[in-house]
Amino acid sequence: MRQEILQILEADSRLSAAQIAVMLDTTEEAVQQEIRRLEEEGVIVGYHTLINWEKADRDVVTAHIAVKVTPQRGSGFDQTALRIAEFPEVQAVFLISGDFDLMVLVEGATIKDIARFVSTKLAVMDTVVSCTTHFVLKKFKQNGRIYERQNGDERPNILL
């Protein structure tokens, strides 16, 4: 049941425990209890809304910054990663295999905001060796959702 609840909530976190209970053929209480446990254990970390900002009359610039980091004795990359994660303009931080170490997702209102963040906050950190900034030009799909669905239900209303 746990996996199924997670799968359902990941697709649509607005479904109520009562609705999920019907879908999984169990009781509302059982679902509530399981969700509470998942939250307590930190399995469910948050409930968010996926927004296509391009359509919402607000300019948002997103950049993916590939960061090379000098690992530290004792903590490796963790300490630097967590320090970067504290900045409010940072949306995500991943440790990545390959040519660089951390992938940092940053959001700002303008390109200038992001440039300022990189030059005054990120690049100047002691353990950061280099930053390569990649600006997002267009988002096609995020969190498993394609932004522009080509067409809706084209089936006739009744078809036997």
């Binding site: 359902i8 649509d12 609705q19 019907v22 879908m23 089936r155 006739p156 209303n157 009744i158 036997l160």
Partner: protein, 390 residues
């Protein structure tokens, strides 16, 4: 003038009385529909991709009459793996244009003028006309809500006569969502194996079962040699528009069907056949994903109708629920027309699927959860209003 020239058989097929209702429903805007008998999912991308690739490779010619050899082999493996059925892809499997063609072929290969074909109802709309077109006489056998629309030997037996040539089974069933589990089939098989007749078993919904395992009629003792299995890709892999199905059965029957097929059809669409190979090889995880989604919606629908106060047996197959609406004092058709006009929800009157469908409506849950919930809200409002009046 032309009217007089039309074949008596075609004229004998009664024009559907509810056609007008369908036409109205199909022309209306902003309708929340539960009226469609096909998946809402698009064909999984890897299957579509394979079709594009087939076109790029210029796979645009005819295939063998009975279908691409590769595909027949995959079908044979699939039937073995899923239902324990063994067929030789060489001469026991025929790839057709949807399950519909396979049904038509089987009937035409079997029927002599006046032969009777037993059709348990409510059931899919095409069997009756297909029997008539082949020169046969359809014999309706009603099934009942009390027995979850399962066919019983007692229902069946009185209708078997010396003229009975075939029985058409459709389980999981459209429109009721009824299934026949092993013991149900065994009881029928015990009767059928005593007679000289053929069972045409349309198992197009075989992958869409919930909490039970689909058993093929052909896998039961004494049935293999008198059963032709119809299946296809439309429902299981969400491939309705590709028009691809198949028949598997006894050699002599398949040879006769292939004869008709080669002169009328030549072969099933080539690109669809290549796509189907991919579906059978790598499509099962996507099928499971769709089944899980259907199952959740199914529970929402059954629970929804019961909360509204309509009697609704729990269907264990296909993607339909078949709630009873007769308690509102309306016929199926009245209910559907009023619901469409007053609440803009389209459902199908049970009578479209045979007389024994009176008092019921077919609601498909091949729709998004959001649409289903909105439809249930509207139906709830409608039922509340009319229950008060009644």
């Amino acid at each position: 003038m032309i009217n007089e020239l039309l074949s008596k058989r075609v004229q004998a097929i009664a024009p559907s009385g509810i056609r007008k209702f369908f036409d109205i429903a199909n022309q209306m805007e902003n309708v929340i529909s539960l009226g469609v008998g096909e998946p809402d999912f698009a064909t999984p991308w890897h299957i579509r991709d394979e079709a594009i690739y087939a076109l790029e490779k210029k796979r645009t010619a005819y295939t063998a009459n009975s279908g691409l050899w590769e595909l027949r082999q995959e079908i044979a493996r699939y039937l073995e793996r899923r239902f324990g059925l063994e067929y030789d892809p060489q001469d026991q499997i025929l790839v057709t244009i949807g399950g519909s063609e396979a049904i038509d072929l089987a009937l035409r290969a079997l029927i002599n003028p006046g032969d009777e074909v037993i059709v348990p109802e409510p059931t899919y709309v095409s069997y009756r006309p297909a029997v008539i077109m082949a020169g046969g006489v359809p014999v309706a056998v009603p099934t009942y809500e009390e027995r979850e629309f399962r066919l019983t030997a007692e229902d069946l037996l009185p209708h078997i006569t010396p003229r009975t040539k075939a029985v058409i089974l459709c389980y999981p069933n459209n429109p009721t969502g009824a299934v026949m589990e092993r013991q149900d089939l065994e009881r029928i098989a015990a009767v059928l194996s005593q007679h000289s007749l053929v069972v045409i078993t349309d198992e197009i919904y075989s992958e869409l079962v919930y909490g039970i395992e689909h058993v093929s009629m052909a896998s039961l003792p004494g049935m293999y040699e008198r059963t032709v299995v119809i299946n296809g890709f439309s429902k299981s892999f969400a491939m309705t528009g590709w028009r691809l199905g198949y028949a598997a059965g006894p050699r002599e029957l398949l040879q006769a069907m292939t004869k008709i097929h080669q002169y009328t059809i030549m072969c099933a669409p080539t690109v669809s056949q290549y796509a189907a190979v991919e579906a059978l090889r790598n499509g099962m995880p996507e099928v499971e994903r769709m089944v899980q989604e259907y199952n959740r919606r199914r529970r929402v629908m059954v629970h929804g109708f019961r909360s509204i106060g309509l009697s609704c047996f729990e269907p264990k197959g296909a993607f339909y629920v078949f709630p009873r609406i007769s308690d509102l004092g309306m016929t199926s058709e009245e209910f559907c027309t009023k619901l469409l006009m007053e609440e803009r929800v389209a459902v199908v009157p049970g009578t479209a699927f045979g007389e024994s469908g009176e008092g019921f409506v077919r609601c498909s849950y091949a729709y998004s959860l959001q649409s289903l919930q909105e439809a249930l809200r509207r139906i709830g409002r409608f039922v509340e209003r009319h229950a008060k009046q009644g």
